[in-house]
């Protein structure tokens, strides 16, 4: 996985609460066979009309939010099923960070597994950010995971919390597989031990 570096990006305000995984990526797209390419179907029902034309009033269809890398939303973002297609779609679209007052559990975990940073902020902070995106067209934030800070060009600084182990993994770009592979010698030792399973499929 790529290391999560400090970046500066456009904030797309999605003023909805309880955004569920079916809204993020509808189930008719689950039969695809790649992890990539889901960005085209992100928020499908909201983004496109019956003819498949982009709806001009949906935020991600508007300049400059079509290039946003930070998504701002309300409570309980990512509720619904455990499908990992939801973070895949967000990431594939270009998002690196999602800011909301709260997230659904499984979705929150799945984000870290896929190199996305979900940031939980108090509701009034989120409200403030919505107001700022309203005031400044193309509002940008710097996401600094190392120092656990969000900053804008008007001297606003917001601290955020994150689990230290997860932070380390994102910063070092370690996915769980990399971490496990650091224990390769232990796995190999087990595989060479008496207790190891014999090959079966030969």
């Amino acid at each position: 996985m790529e290391a999560f570096e400090t970046f500066d990006g456009i904030v797309a305000p999605l003023d909805r609460s309880n955004v569920d995984t079916d809204a993020i990526i509808p189930k008719q797209f689950l039969k695809r066979v790649r992890k990539t390419g889901f960005g085209a179907y992100l928020f499908f029902e909201w983004r496109f009309d019956e003819e498949g034309e982009p709806k001009p009033d949906f935020v991600l269809n508007r300049e400059p939010y079509d290039r946003a890398s930070i998504l701002l939303a309300r409570e309980n973002f990512g509720c619904g099923s455990s499908r990992e297609h939801a973070p895949w779609a967000l990431k594939d679209f270009g998002f690196k960070t999602i800011i909301a007052p709260s997230f659904a559990d499984i979705f929150y975990n799945n984000c870290f597994k896929n190199g996305l940073l979900p940031i939980e902020l108090p509701a009034d902070r989120v409200k403030q950010l919505f107001a700022l995106t309203d005031k400044h067209q193309g509002y940008r934030l710097t996401v600094d995971l190392e120092n656990q800070q969000l900053r804008d060009e008007h001297d606003l600084v917001i601290d955020f919390g994150v689990d230290p182990e997860r932070k380390r993994r994102l910063l070092e770009g370690l996915d769980e597989i990399d971490l496990t592979l650091k224990l390769e010698d232990k796995i190999a030792a087990y595989e060479n031990s008496e207790r190891a399973p014999a090959p079966i499929m030969n």
């Binding site: 695809r32 790649r34 992890k35 990539t36 990992e84 597994k113 597989i177 796995i187 595989e191 079966i200």
Partner: protein, 435 residues
């Protein structure tokens, strides 16, 4: 592995330049998307076809054994793996499918996982896990011969509820469990997930060892004795400590039939459709009311008065040879009632071949059943087999959720014997009253 949940895991490996660590401990088959009409095996849905082709290519690229359509040895993954001796006591078995719990029948720790986890296992042959709590479900007494493992597990779920096992690994114990065959144990463990548990298991014993003897991937005859000595160590401690214990008497248990839209909504076949207003909690009442509406049933209706349109015998719960034998015994020499669509979908092509050797296909065909190729079929309607809206089905599968077997379809979960008798009568039947 099967074709639906594995493609992104392989994709992930490729992107990261990783290999499958232990192809010798990995196997796959195709089941969810495969057509089961023996006269028309062409996969028309391009997306389904793509998933099947992708699995084929991935297995080839990474050197994984695939039980494939083109070799005619495919089938529902939870039927195929055990019947080849691939599942053995003491193993940890994972698959991107919640009914992986089935393999606990061999005294293995078996549970379903997500796609990232599949990738993790393929790359490392390990998986970080939190330890589940443990639950003993002890069945006391001995049910009649006509009662199947399916009736037992439906009864268990009805008693402990669909979230009764959440957070637990279930161990089934008691005489009634020890007396079951391997196939029945697989049915019991299969539906642990419907009771909320990720895994269910039965301690290995002589029944397990006898089953494994001589299977293609089992230990050879020379190794087997040494292995059995090891497996004997896996026996349940006496006494054993559990986080939760449940004891259920099964003496005189009646055949079970589900009436609602989750597997806990089940009653005895000689009972009536329950009245929601008798339920204590308001949410329960509402849920039951909604279920009755969806199912098109009225409180107080006798279960045996409910007429069905379709009978489905198959799936990873009840698509094994013994299940087909039990159904065939009921069907032999009789005919399916008018206007009933009845189908038998063997759990694997191997089950199909064996059944044909015993002449079961003849019995079903003569009675008016369809005799199909193996696959998940109607169990989840991801392939051409499905229910129409409003169509009512007696099914030996495991989930009666809204729309599970086709949008608007109505599913009643039953044992293979009850399903067979229902096909003949056109309505549910108390099989204890036959003959």
């Amino acid at each position: 592995m099967h074709e639906v949940t594995s493609p992104q895991a392989f994709d992930g490996l490729r992107v990261a330049g990783r290999q499958v660590r232990r192809p010798d401990l990995t196997a796959a088959t195709m089941d969810h998307n495969v057509p089961t009409d023996p006269d028309d095996m062409e996969i028309r849905d391009p997306v389904s076809r793509k998933q099947i082709e992708t699995l084929r290519e991935n297995c080839k690229e990474f050197g994984i054994k695939l039980f494939a359509l083109e070799n005619n040895d495919h089938g529902v993954i939870h039927v195929v793996m055990p019947e080849h001796g691939i599942i053995q006591p003491g193993m940890t078995v994972v698959c991107g499918d919640s009914h992986t719990a089935t393999h606990g029948a061999f005294g293995a720790l078996a549970f379903g996982i997500g796609t990232s986890e599949i990738e993790h296992v393929l790359a490392t042959q390990t998986l970080p896990q939190n330890k589940p709590k443990t639950m003993e479900i002890r069945l006391t007494g001995q049910p009649d011969d006509s009662i199947a493992a399916k009736d037992l597990i439906l009864y268990i779920i009805r008693e402990i509820g669909t979230s009764g096992g959440t957070g637990y690994a279930i161990e089934y114990t008691g005489e009634a469990v020890q007396n079951t065959s391997m196939e029945e144990r697989m049915t019991l463990c299969n539906m642990a997930i419907e009771a909320g548990a990720r895994s269910g298991l039965v301690a290995p014993d002589q029944t397990t060892y006898d089953y494994l003897r001589g299977l293609p991937y089992s230990p050879s005859e020379e190794e087997l004795d040494k292995k059995i000595a090891e497996w004997e160590e896996l026996k349940t401690d006496s006494p054993a400590a559990y986080d939760r214990k449940v004891e259920l008497p099964v003496d005189g248990l009646a055949p079970q039939v589900s009436w609602g839209t989750n597997p806990a909504m089940t009653v005895d076949v000689n009972d009536t459709v329950p009245d929601p207003s008798n339920l204590k909690r308001q949410e329960e009442r509402q849920e039951a009311q909604r279920a009755l509406e969806y199912m098109g049933l009225k409180p107080g209706e006798p279960i045996t008065g409910i007429e069905v349109d379709t009978v489905f015998i198959g799936s990873c719960t009840n698509g094994r040879l013994e299940d087909l034998r039990q159904a065939a015994e009921v069907v032999e020499g009789k005919t399916v009632a008018n206007n009933i669509r009845a189908m038998v979908v063997p759990g694997s092509q191997l089950v199909k071949k064996r059944a044909e050797k015993e002449g079961l296909d003849e019995i079903f065909l003569e009675a008016g059943f369809q005799w199909r190729n193996s696959g998940c079929s109607m169990c989840l309607a991801m392939n051409p087999d499905r229910l129409e809206a409003g169509e009512r089905c007696a099914s030996t599968s495991n989930r009666n959720f809204e729309g599970r077997m086709g949008t608007g379809g109505r599913t009643h979960l039953v044992s293979p014997r009850t399903a067979a008798a229902t096909a003949l009568a056109g309505h549910f039947v108390d099989i204890r009253k036959l003959q």
